[in-house]
Assembly symmetry: C2
Homo-oligomer: 144 residues x 2
DNA sequence: TTCAATGCAAATATTTTGCAATTCG
DNA sequence: CGAATTGCAAAATATTTGCATTGAA
């Protein structure tokens, strides 16, 4: 997962966006996080490396990263504006409700199931969201 | 799905809440909707039947209905504050991205799958969300 | 009669927009 | 240099809270 920074920076440039210090700082944070992060959290962490960063820029950078499918917006009970690095082709997430850690998981066999639902309901299925919530091994440990 | 009003009203009372005209108006709307509704939409519709309704009361009533598991919060790309009547035991939703219509669907065999994910990742799974998005039969029809 | 509930107005919180100054390429 | 980007301040949204009044039980 580490070292995505360079790849992301290249992708931004290839898509006609400029590479600025502000963007680099935001990317450093979100590309390598092992926890779900809210914009304000990205801001606070990135600000340490690049103090004149503005929150607005964080919002705008996240917007572009999402547009390029480099990050994924995570919906949770309490808030729906948190992000994790995206994994190509997979949007099945497992989240720790205590610490925000995340894991991606595979679900190939689900496609057939979804198709079947579509047939039964008369809907043409275009997208799906699947998320599991639980307590990660580390947090379970701490709670003994 | 129709005629849930009375049941909901009883449940509110059984749980120590008072039955007011404002609450009845809100319940009439959300208990019988066939579309996902945002608080402001509930407000606007319910206001027709009970003009002195305040938006704040809609928020507060929805909060109580959610607490009693009578309605379910629906998360979508654009907003995460929309509700549908809940179906006991099932939180698997299929949503029309055009008109907001919804269908519940069953997924018994998923439990084993979820358990397996938990075992592989070391997480103890506590909850899951599954939603499908698509175009319903009516909207597909209209779009010919 | 009593206390929960209401609804207004005000306070918060969050996200977006306008714009002059800055910086990348 | 020229255009994209920044970040401030202000605006727009969405949701919550305080409080005097109303109304259900």
């Amino acid at each position: 997962m580490a070292g995505q920074n360079q790849k992301w920076q290249n992708l931004l440039r290839e898509n006609g966006y400029r590479l600025t210090d502000a963007r680099r700082a935001v990317i450093d944070v979100i590309a390598n996080t092992d926890r779900v992060l809210k914009p304000i959290e990205v801001y606070e962490i990135a600000k340490e490396a690049y103090p004149r960063l503005g929150l607005v820029t964080v919002y705008r950078t996240l917007e572009k990263l999402e547009e390029l499918d480099l990050i994924l917006r995570v919906h949770q009970e309490a808030d729906c504006q948190a992000f994790v690095p995206a994994w190509e082709g997979h949007k099945h997430l497992l989240l720790c409700t205590r610490c925000g850690r995340y894991e991606y998981f595979e679900g190939e066999n689900l496609e057939a199931f979804f198709k079947d639902i579509g047939r039964k309901t008369g809907y043409s299925i275009e997208d799906h969201w699947m998320q599991l919530f639980g307590t990660c091994a580390v947090c379970s440990q701490e709670n003994l």
